[in-house]
């Protein structure tokens, strides 16, 4: 009797999108609250993060003091691309940052603790940490974009704004996908840290126009590790509206497909991983 009651109760507990939103906001609200209680800690690392980005921009600027343009790209266009990568990296930084801890919990065996909840494992793992410092990236990135937009005298109209926003959305899926894939390496190999740092280096190349790379790299950065979709292709719709590459219109497809693949690989790794013996 008891048992059948129970399973009926379970069946009636549907877990839809609303449920997941509710859980997510409850968890991150608590996470942010507890982080803000270490206020000085938070402010220092936020400043550190903004400074890192500022130094990058400065070195960019220095390079362009000597070369007015690189392969037909001037400083403001490059700054635009750089700003675009920062904005596109914000969701990964804020919502998927726990990927950086995955290795540690997998190797220590603590990963198992995420497996006992009646919710999606990937979701539950990622919900644990919300890194508000990512908002700093968003701020710096948007500043770069607004500034160069202005300097380049690009038209401000509905179409280019919509293209820009869609570009951000799908480019950020690419960033998240690369992070998921790199972090899930720890399910399959030991000493997986080099994969994560490799992916970071790779992401660093996303701020350059794909045209400066040689043919083989061009292919890799477009189809294998599609960082060209992190800034270059989506930006082209705004930067060179008269000369948009065909692949730009495939940004949503690449974004969605790569994110889906990364999710599947991550889940497959997580479920086949056998809770490393204690």
């Amino acid at each position: 009797m008891e048992t059948s009651d129970m399973s009926m109760k379970t069946a009636s507990k549907r877990r839809g999108l609303r449920y997941y939103f509710n859980i997510y906001f409850r968890i991150i609200a608590q996470d942010i609250k507890s982080k803000l209680s270490y206020r000085s800690d938070f402010i220092i690392s936020l400043i550190g993060m903004i400074l890192t980005d500022a130094v990058e921009i400065l070195s960019f600027w220095l390079v362009f003091q000597n070369f007015p343009s690189v392969k037909g790209w001037n400083f403001y266009e490059m700054l635009f691309l750089y700003g675009f990568t920062l904005v596109a990296s914000t969701p990964a930084q804020c919502m998927f940052d726990n990927n950086w801890n995955l290795r540690l919990v997998v190797y220590s065996g603590d990963f198992i603790k995420y497996c006992f909840r009646p919710v999606n494992l990937f979701f539950y793992f990622m919900s644990e940490i919300f890194d508000i410092k990512g908002v700093g990236k968003l701020f710096v990135g948007l500043s770069c974009i607004v500034y160069s937009w202005n300097k380049l005298a690009l038209p401000v109209n509905f179409k280019s704004l919509v293209l820009l926003i869609f570009g951000f959305v799908f480019a950020s899926l690419i960033v998240i996908a690369i992070l998921n894939l790199a972090s899930s390496a720890c399910f399959f190999i030991m000493n997986s840290f080099f994969v994560l740092s490799l992916s970071n280096t790779l992401r660093g190349y996303a701020r350059y126009p794909i045209t400066i790379f040689s043919g083989a790299l061009k292919f890799v950065f477009t189809f294998i590790a599609p960082i060209a979709f992190m800034a270059y292709y989506p930006s082209m719709a705004v930067l060179r509206p008269d000369n948009v590459p065909v692949l730009t219109w495939f940004t949503p497809v690449f974004g969605i497909v790569f994110f889906y693949i990364s999710y599947k690989v991550w889940m497959k790794g997580a479920l086949s991983y056998n809770g490393t013996g204690n």
């Binding site: 008891e2 859980i23 968890i27 065996g109």
Partner: protein, 349 residues
């Protein structure tokens, strides 16, 4: 009554990769076929009824945690099947998770930075617990433990004992029909152990929750379990009441004799010589009875089964041949009973 958990001929094998070193090695491992097979659980079956507290015992590496991981759906058996609350846990892990609570000793599942009560509030939402049930549960908890002292402290600032306590409370929070506790008392002091045993006992009684408890600590078993299941090297070697077990060994007495005026100065050789000659003596006298002789604490220990030979007779036999300086008789404890089973003693069968 239909059992709430059925484990049928479950075997779990791990393929363990002989790993290579370094960066090149880790890439090579991806394609390596250099495996060795470890059988962690070997053809285990058991049925567990609603409301039982089952002690799941075995030495380190026996396969206890692996069995729990299969019952909770984290691992899939290599062969055999498990049904928990009418659900196959490893096929429907998230569905099964609603019906169980789990504590893996020393691995807190609560949010590290949050006060326990905030974690509980989130868990309430995750498990979709009704407001009233939640309130009642917290009320019950406050009658069982001193909630005020622990609920408002961030988990990371808690002692291991407080954390375990909170983890156990969290695992019962959604009133699941089954709770798994894997070594919940490991590393705790005596007072905390007693507190946790009391808590589990009360929650089991109040909510009729089935509890599966793995442990090393016989104190846990003595305090909580009516039924124990013992596994060793992946195989189930015992499954019955605890009374039955002590009954099996109830007629056993340990006889310790000191055959030297000052036992502290005996050398290992002398002790071993005594052990052999006592053993021979007993075998001569009672050729059909198995009486294991061992050295413990510089004395000679004889395990006597009173069903076959009286302890007094054994003492007399030893005294006829040797001068006995000191002797004492002890009952066999649950702990040594279980150790005897681990040691592969024939007595169980």
């Amino acid at each position: 009554m239909e059992p709430i958990i059925q484990v049928n001929n479950v075997t779990k094998e791990f393929k363990v990769l002989n790993r290579s070193e370094g960066l090149k090695g880790s890439i090579k491992d991806l394609f390596s076929h250099d495996y060795k097979i470890v059988r962690a659980v070997d053809n285990v079956s058991m049925d567990i009824g609603q409301g039982e507290i089952v002690g799941y015992l075995g030495p380190n590496g026996a396969g206890k945690s692996t069995t729990i991981k299969m019952m909770t759906g984290v691992l899939k058996p290599t062969s055999g099947s498990i049904i928990c609350n009418g659900v196959v846990p490893y096929d429907k892990r998230t569905l099964n998770a609603q019906n169980i609570g789990v504590v893996f000793g020393q691995r807190s599942q609560l949010w590290w930075a949050l006060p326990a009560i905030e974690s509980f509030n989130i868990l309430k939402d995750i498990y979709l617990v009704e407001d009233k049930d939640y309130k009642d549960m917290l009320e019950l908890y406050s009658t069982l433990v001193d909630m005020d002292s622990i609920m408002h402290k961030p988990v990371r600032q808690m002692s291991l004992g407080q954390r375990t306590l909170c983890d156990i409370l969290a695992s019962f929070l959604h009133n699941p029909p089954v709770v798994f506790l894997d070594e919940p008392t490991i590393g705790l002091d005596v007072a905390m152990k007693a507190k946790i045993r009391e808590l589990v006992k009360m929650l089991n009684k109040e909510k009729n929750t089935t509890v599966i408890l793995t442990t090393h600590d016989m104190g846990d078993v003595d305090a909580l379990c009516e039924r124990i299941v013992i596994i060793d090297k992946g195989k189930k070697i015992y499954d019955n009441d605890i009374e039955h077990l002590t009954g099996l060994f109830g007629a056993y007495r340990t006889l310790s004799v000191s055959l030297s005026k000052n036992k502290e100065i005996l050398t290992k050789e002398e002790l071993e010589q005594m052990e052999t000659s006592v053993s021979n003596l007993l075998r001569e006298q009672w050729p059909d009875v198995d009486m294991p002789v061992s050295i413990e604490d510089n004395e000679i220990q004889i395990l006597v089964n009173e069903a076959f030979t009286g302890v007094v007779k054994v003492i007399n036999a030893v005294q006829d041949k040797y001068k006995v300086y000191d002797m004492h008789i002890t009952e066999i404890s649950t702990e040594s009973v279980i150790r005897k089973i681990y040691d592969g003693s024939k007595i169980v069968k």
